[in-house]
């Protein structure tokens, strides 16, 4: 899967689930783990990533470096897919 496809999927999920469809509020490098995604939302995000990309998100990987921005999320998913391939 191309990075651009991963980004489209991740962005769509975040916009629909956490921003009531307001895509204009999302920046690729903006922090998600503040107001956009609350703690309850982190579980939803992890569940989505696991189901959509067929990867396992380990508890130790739930850190800002992996999940805090769209860019980080895309890079993280790409790494996981690569490791799986």
């Amino acid at each position: 899967m191309q990075a651009v496809d991963i980004e489209r999927e991740v962005r769509k999920f975040v916009v629909e689930h956490f921003l009531s469809g307001h895509a204009e509020k999302l920046r690729a490098d903006g922090s998600l783990l503040g107001d956009v995604i609350d703690s309850m939302g982190v579980l939803d995000l992890v569940a989505f990533l696991q189901a959509r990309f067929d990867i396992t998100v380990d508890d130790e990987e739930v850190v800002p470096g992996n999940l805090d921005t769209i860019n980080n999320l895309v890079a993280y998913v790409a790494r996981k897919l690569e490791a799986k391939a």
């Binding site: 009531s20 469809g21 307001h22 922090s31 783990l33 503040g34 107001d35 609350d38 703690s39 309850m40 982190v42 579980l43 992890v46 569940a47 696991q50 508890d59 130790e60 739930v62 850190v63």
Partner: protein, 526 residues
């Protein structure tokens, strides 16, 4: 003026900052505060507090001044808080998750001399700091701190002659009228609570507590932070809860006490479902306890099955520092009772006729003891309405006693407890009503597993094109995330009572019966 310290706590402490001094002398190398960016021992924390006092003086903070601290759990927040109380300034503790409007109201009401933002651990605090045009300073162990401009107009408060009775924390709660009320808690209040909480749970220097409850709120401050430090234990500071990080910390750092809210425990249950786990065992964990909102039986039994241990329960209000009752480790409950009354606190149950409720009967819960606040700041009438001449504080909650254990059977008529935070419908309504297309609104709670959701019913001007999503966005600009409605329902007309008031009981039933998803955006023609 002569300082008197005749009324020390039973541990011989006068100020809340003394909890650190004592252990800095006895066991300076024991970790006091641990966070992902670094740790401080008691010795280091004592030095940091002393340095911070000198630092605060350099930018004009005086005894009696209010110093507002906007942040989330981190070493900087704790250190500034303890430093201010040690120099007789009043820390005004503010959760960075509040909205700009709420923060401004608190700033104005408290007359803060300075507003400080602990921004390294809190993106929200960083946003507020940017908006306030603060100077940013880097400090060892603190990361970045935003320093707001000096308020030269404000006057310091006169200090109580008795040190223990001086204000050690000013915590704002939204009043039933939507106007924030500043709860003044004294050193005596907080030390009494910290000491009692630690004793009930036999907390010692061998313990490691998970510090996720916000220290800008009463439980996080007195029970978790001070309850840990007074016992010489180690506190693992966490700005926000997420079950995955918590699982790792509980395991790796061998946490012994986890104090959470029903919402936190509900998330742990959801986490277990996601991971398909039937048990979560942490060999070092010896106490798990819930407070901050009513604990439902399903969450309690689910957590007890998952953890293989008892989930304890407690109850309190900010004005009571906050604990009023809690279940005891030696007397676990199988029901959702809030347990026996906190040691040293008196209660009485008063019937609707103003007389003592009959044995086993329901009555309004009144509380008296060393945990009762000094009063509401700059609000003597509200204070007099809350605390009677004999010192009894009226919780306005309905309770009954069963074998010496309290059960809360009803709460203040309208209060919604969402994710452990008190949400007053009047405040949410006042924001929605300020929208130019809104005629009127009514906000009620809806019970869901382990939580209450906020449901707003709104009547719009005829012909308007405003949607629930527009209103949600509007509410989002003016309310902290936890106060924003989970669902906004557009009503063609509001149901009313015979006297013409909005029939909230009817709306509450409608909210409960509405099987639509929790996502914002529903239109009903009822």
């Amino acid at each position: 003026m002569t300082d008197l310290d005749a009324s020390k706590s039973s541990a011989g402490l006068t100020r809340i900052s003394d909890v650190v001094t004592r252990w800095a002398e006895r066991s300076p190398d024991v970790p006091a505060l641990v966070e992902s960016t670094g740790s401080w021992t008691y010795g280091q924390l004592a030095s940091a507090i002393s340095d911070t006092q000198a630092w605060l003086r350099t930018f004009g903070v005086r005894p009696g001044d209010r110093v507002m601290i906007v942040g989330e759990n981190c070493r900087a927040f704790v250190t500034i808080l303890l430093a201010t109380t040690g120099m007789d300034s009043w820390p005004v503790l503010v959760n960075a998750r509040l909205s700009p409007r709420e923060i401004e109201e608190i700033q104005n009401h408290s007359g803060a001399r300075r507003v400080l933002f602990t921004i390294s651990s809190s993106p929200s605090a960083a946003d507020h700091a940017n908006r306030h045009g603060t100077a940013i300073e880097e400090r060892d162990g603190f990361g970045s701190v935003g320093i707001g401009p000096l308020n030269e107009e404000t006057e310091p408060e006169t200090l109580d002659l008795n040190i223990a009775d001086r204000v050690a924390a000013l915590i704002y709660t939204s009043g039933t009228t939507g106007v924030p009320k500043g709860v003044m808690l004294s050193h005596r209040n907080l030390l009494f609570m910290a000491e009692g909480s630690a004793n009930v749970r036999s907390v010692s220097s061998e313990d490691r507590l998970y510090g996720v409850l916000p220290m800008s709120h009463a439980v996080g401050l007195s029970v978790v932070l001070l309850g840990s430090l007074i016992a010489g234990a180690s506190l693992y500071l966490t700005p926000r809860f997420d079950p995955m990080t918590a699982r790792v910390t509980l395991e790796k750092d061998r946490i012994t006490l986890l104090l959470g809210t029903p919402a936190i425990f509900t998330q742990l249950l959801q986490y277990a479902r996601l991971r398909k786990l039937s048990s979560l065992t942490f060999p070092s964990l010896r106490i798990i306890s819930s407070s901050g909102a009513p604990l439902d039986a399903g969450t309690k039994s689910g957590i007890e099955r998952l953890f293989g241990m008892v989930l304890h329960n407690g109850y309190g209000v900010t004005e009571c520092s906050p604990t009023i009752a809690l279940t005891r480790p030696e007397a676990p409950r199988t029901d959702t009772s809030i347990g026996a009354v906190f040691p040293g606190v008196e209660i009485k149950l008063v019937g609707s006729d103003g007389q003592a409720a009959p044995a086993g009967g329901v009555g309004e819960l009144r509380v008296r003891g060393p945990n009762i606040m000094k009063g509401y700041y700059r609000a003597p009438e509200e204070t007099a309405a809350a605390i009677d001449a004999d010192g009894w504080f009226n919780t306005r909650d309905l309770a009954r006693l069963e074998d010496g254990n309290l059960l809360i059977v009803g709460r203040t008529k309208d209060l919604i407890v969402h994710r452990g935070f008190n949400v007053y419908p009047a405040e949410v309504e006042s924001v929605l009503n300020a929208h130019p297309e809104v005629v009127q609104s009514a906000v009620v709670g809806r019970s869901v597993a382990g939580d209450e959701e906020i449901v707003a019913f709104v009547q719009l001007l005829p012909g308007t094109a405003v949607t629930p999503a527009d209103l949600a966005e509007y509410a989002g600009q003016h309310l902290a995330p936890y106060k924003r409605p989970s669902q906004i329902v557009i009503m063609a007309a509001m149901p009313t009572t015979a006297s013409g008031k909005i029939a909230k009981a009817e709306l509450k039933k409608l909210a409960q019966d509405t099987q639509l998803s929790a996502h914002v955006g529903t239109t009903l023609n009822a």
